[in-house]
Symmetry: D2
Subunit: 114 residues, 4 copies
Amino acid sequence: MGVYLETMSNEEEPAGPYGYSEQKQAYLRRLKRAEGQVRGIARMVEEDKYCIDILTQMAAVNKALHAVSIGLLEDHIAHCVVNAAHESQSSGNPEIVSGKVSEATAAISRLLRS
Amino acid sequence: MGVYLETMSNEEEPAGPYGYSEQKQAYLRRLKRAEGQVRGIARMVEEDKYCIDILTQMAAVNKALHAVSIGLLEDHIAHCVVNAAHESQSSGNPEIVSGKVSEATAAISRLLRS
Amino acid sequence: MGVYLETMSNEEEPAGPYGYSEQKQAYLRRLKRAEGQVRGIARMVEEDKYCIDILTQMAAVNKALHAVSIGLLEDHIAHCVVNAAHESQSSGNPEIVSGKVSEATAAISRLLRS
Amino acid sequence: MGVYLETMSNEEEPAGPYGYSEQKQAYLRRLKRAEGQVRGIARMVEEDKYCIDILTQMAAVNKALHAVSIGLLEDHIAHCVVNAAHESQSSGNPEIVSGKVSEATAAISRLLRS
């Protein structure tokens, strides 16, 4: 009956087990592009391009990967954490949601420091 | 009877309106220390200390502030998002939780880029 | 005869031993403001302000401290590294400059991960 | 007559125009690996892997790319900045080195915010 965003049905592409499944194609496109950017950086190194120009490209690929990470995190919170909140409520077991929250926080912390 | 962490009652210090209230004293201590570190950095600049030593202290204060940010984010997700998930479920209005999730993600994104 | 930028004289405030000395007053003002921002964050926690608003302030103080760090790094490279380059050249000892470069790089690396 | 580290000759692989040329093979290997990691992340998304596991891989690739960036920056400072310092000294034109320093600082700033 659909309390969540992700159940806004998407006929052609059935939602996978995790929340990001709907945006899957968008993530795949962005990752494909980031992969190409990393390959482009390697080519710049190969061709002895100016270090500062290489670093500019590096910042661009970091930004692109960060955007994907932020998207995945949002999906994780919107789906895995929210679903766990419901399960915790229906089961009376608070650890279901607290486990998911800790996992999300640990992932955020790794991203901040990476 | 309290399915969530935050309702694990805390006699002396009643939980405030937001989830971080329980860890309030810990956050205040850490922020006080970070404030002292920033003051220490100003003193180092004042006394013409070596730039690299000042930068080392800067990295330490960044780390300390990040730890507080991560803690606040964890509290936000564990309380505000989780409570909103329950409200969304009981009211049938998915926007309650999706609004909180977007807010959290925007905050994470600002931290990653700050 | 002025090999460095900073020798664009500054009558009132004689340059200290390190390159950042000239911008000292600007750094001190910014650090004072950052200190105030950290204190403001503590007050927000004290008054149970909304976590997301606190995180927004946190991103602001991170940004302010980063600006100071970048400034100090620039000064370090422009003065300590450049002076070391001259000393390496006049003394014929390449380690003088390579040590300064390693120090700078280690500081950048700590900042990126802090 | 060798004022710099990098002039510690390297018979097989003549240094290219920029300082990183000597570590070129190492950078290329690392970038190739990072490219593979990004492709692996795309595969995880494709196969609906758990979001947190994907984020863990994302932090790993960020770390790998950061290591390359830091290396390039170190090379830039050790070579381009240091060479510019010498040119500034021999020509009496401080702008040669100050331009390189500004460029390096701008690159660091972009990395910190990316």
